[in-house]
């Protein structure tokens, strides 16, 4: 065993010290071991380690013993029961020692590493989570080695070569490309391979682990330079919309973001995220296309209305000419020809011809629009489309839009574009009526009204003066100095083309409400999206 002096010294040691036999019987332990395992040395003596410590893997002791006997020492970790019954991780070191009785004893020193291991596990878990995130995010992520570029810029700055980074980069486009070539790709995630890689390459990811230069089109160099400026001037992050290039040369619109946290900057690594904007740009292009189509439809519809009224007018003198000529022939064909009457009629024919020519002059240069289709189209979709179309105006006026759509998505017999135009036209009028008033709101609703589908476009504006109500839909009626007074006339023209009607009223709670009633249509509706029925934009 140990001498009292030895034991006294060992009690001062911070590490736990356990003296045991090879078969695991405890001979003695020190004060630190008592604190760790919760039993006084006197009580521990004679008991077996496996039972006392409730070790999870006592079978490993055999292998440890073999090492100990072969090398005179062993080190490892064991999970043991601590003083409070909790599991503790203990780092052990064994030494073989001849005991006083001549037998074999093991001197074990132990250090409680439970907390350290827990921290390490947490770190591993967080690192694992980060790797998972890096890999699984829908965005493209890049880990870049920026160290050579950072070092070079630092040196140039120190040497007084660079007074202003932006000016320096601007004057040296080739230097910017050189910085790209010096920035190496350390790692990329799956999404990056999908977005930038060549799927049929033998190793699509390996191809991307080059420099960043191939991914930056010449025209986007300025964005790269700006991100470098942000990185070296201590800003925490940088983001810009730009065009980037896949490894096969295909360019696409992208949101480029870079993060410069101090700890990774010190290591010289950068984390860059790229989001593919193709879909958004495509949606914007489609929206722009829809606006253009609407503008065209508006022109066509206005022209259509004018042309119809001109055609109506020009037919009047033609009808008179035909009747006058027929009458003239009959007066002359009489047994006693009525030359005077025929002469009078001929003069009128000349007048009517002149009248027709004047009307035709007004038509000159005008184009007739194509006949609109008569649906079926979704009333819900027309409302949503119109709200999307007026988004800039709605945002500009700080207005809210409350959409109350019909969940059964009723179809109406009308042209989708023209119906959008009707709703947009009414809503635009209402936005103008609400200008400068607090909390402007457009209430757009679709509901069934017997065999018809009613589309309501209401506002929280001042309403319509009662004496204006009857004349509202007349051509050239307007209350605005800059208005042409054609909007509501066109709306009525379009709605009536499809056999519908439009009416205006004031809401009891204030504001105007226009109701467009259109015959419900049977049959499938093209591209009727079923999404949220009640939304507030």
């Amino acid at each position: 065993m140990l001498s009292a002096a030895e034991a006294g010294v060992l009690d001062l040691v911070q590490e736990s010290v356990v003296l045991r036999t090879a078969d695991g019987r405890i001979l003695w332990w020190n004060a630190a071991a008592e604190a760790l395992y919760g039993a006084r040395p006197a009580r521990a003596a004679g008991r077996y380690a496996a039972e006392l410590f409730a070790e999870e893997t006592p079978e490993e002791d055999a292998a440890a013993l073999a090492i100990l006997r072969a090398e005179g020492a062993w080190a490892g970790e064991r999970t043991r029961r601590g003083a409070g019954g909790e599991r503790r991780c203990v780092a052990l070191a064994w030494r073989l020692r001849r005991a006083a009785w001549g037998g074999e004893a093991i001197l074990e020193t132990g250090r409680d590493v439970t907390d350290a291991r827990r921290d390490e596990a947490a770190l591993r878990k967080s690192e694992h989570r980060y790797r998972n995130l890096f890999q699984a995010m829908a965005a493209s992520f890049w880990e870049l080695d920026f160290f050579p570029v950072g070092a070079r810029l630092h040196a140039l700055r120190k040497a007084g070569e660079i007074a202003s980074y932006p000016a320096y980069f601007e004057a040296r486009p080739e230097f910017v490309r050189e910085m790209m070539r010096a920035t190496r790709v350390i790692d990329v995630n799956e999404q990056t391979v999908t977005l930038f890689g060549r799927p049929d390459a033998p190793d699509p990811k390996a191809e991307l682990l080059t420099t960043v230069e191939p991914f930056w089109p010449e025209a986007s160099s300025g964005v790269f330079a700006a991100s470098v400026v942000a990185a070296v001037s201590g800003r925490p992050s940088y983001a810009a919309e730009t065009r980037l290039r896949a490894i096969d040369g295909r360019e696409f619109p992208a949101l480029f973001t870079a993060c410069f946290p101090p700890d990774t900057m010190n290591k010289g690594t950068l984390l860059v995220g790229v989001i593919d904007l193709s879909a958004r740009v495509a949606a914007e292009t489609a929206l722009a296309g829809m606006r253009a189509e609407m503008a065209r439809a508006a022109r066509v519809s206005m022209l259509g209305e004018l042309t119809a009224s001109i055609a109506h007018e020009v037919k009047q003198p033609l009808a008179a000419i035909a009747a006058n000529a027929a009458a003239g022939i009959r007066w002359l064909d009489r047994p006693a020809p009525e030359v005077a009457e025929a002469r009078l009629l001929t003069g009128r024919i000349a007048d009517d011809a002149r009248r027709a020519a004047e009307i035709i002059d007004r038509i000159r240069g005008m184009v007739t629009g194509a006949a609109p289709s008569a649906g079926p189209c979704s009333a819900n979709a027309a409302l949503r489309d119109a709200a999307a179309l007026l988004e800039p105006e709605i945002r500009r006026d700080g207005a809210r839009v409350a959409l109350r759509l019909d969940p059964s998505d009723p179809a109406v017999a009308a042209d989708r574009v023209q119906l959008q135009q009707v709703v947009a036209n009414l809503a635009l009028n209402e936005l103008q009526a609400m200008a400068g008033r607090p909390a402007p709101r457009l209430d757009l609703a679709v509901r069934r009204e017997g065999d018809a589908v009613a589309i309501e476009v209401a506002d929280t504006g001042p309403g319509i003066a009662p004496d204006h109500l009857p004349r509202l839909f007349e051509s050239f009626f307007t209350t605005r100095a800059e208005g042409m007074g054609m909007g509501l006339a066109i709306v009525r023209g379009i709605v009536e083309t499809f056999g519908g009607s439009v009416r205006a009223a004031n809401r009891p709670e204030g504001g105007a409400c226009f109701t467009v009633a259109l015959p419900a249509a049977e049959g499938p509706v093209a591209a009727a999206a079923h999404d949220a029925v009640n939304t507030i934009v």
Binding site: Q316, A320, A326, W331, R334, D352
Partner: protein, 123 residues
């Protein structure tokens, strides 16, 4: 001796109205023109006319309404409608209201003459 039948002509377009009057007279009929449906309804021609030729679209009462008014009173003279409008549904409306025919402007004079002849035969 059979009295010469009176043809009532209603149209807000004065030149066409005059032209029809002259045509009717050239064919040996009597003709009286009115620039509005209301003017016709307030005249003696309302009961005397053997045939009414009316424009569809006029300020105030239109030809369709005039036709329905006369039919509602019962025993009215046959109505011939003329119009510069092109909508197909007008044919249906004219038929439903009991019009003898609906002619599109510019009216083919022979078609108008045929219609008036049929109206007088029917009367």
């Amino acid at each position: 001796m059979t009295p010469i039948p009176l043809i009532a002509l209603v149209d807000d377009d004065a030149p066409f109205l005059r032209a029809m009057e002259s045509l009717m007279r050239a064919l040996g009929w009597r003709a009286e023109g009115f620039s509005s449906a209301e003017g016709f309804l307030g005249s003696t021609a309302r009961t005397e006319a053997a045939c009414i030729v009316s424009d569809v679209q006029m300020p105030g009462m239109g030809g369709m309404e005039l036709m329905r008014r006369l039919a509602a009173e019962g025993g009215g003279a046959p109505v011939i409608l003329v119009t510069a409008r092109t909508e197909a549904r007008l044919d249906e409306e004219a038929r439903a209201g009991g019009a003898l025919c609906l002619l599109r402007k510019p009216v083919e004079p022979q078609a108008l003459i045929d219609c008036v002849s049929r109206a007088l035969d029917a009367a």
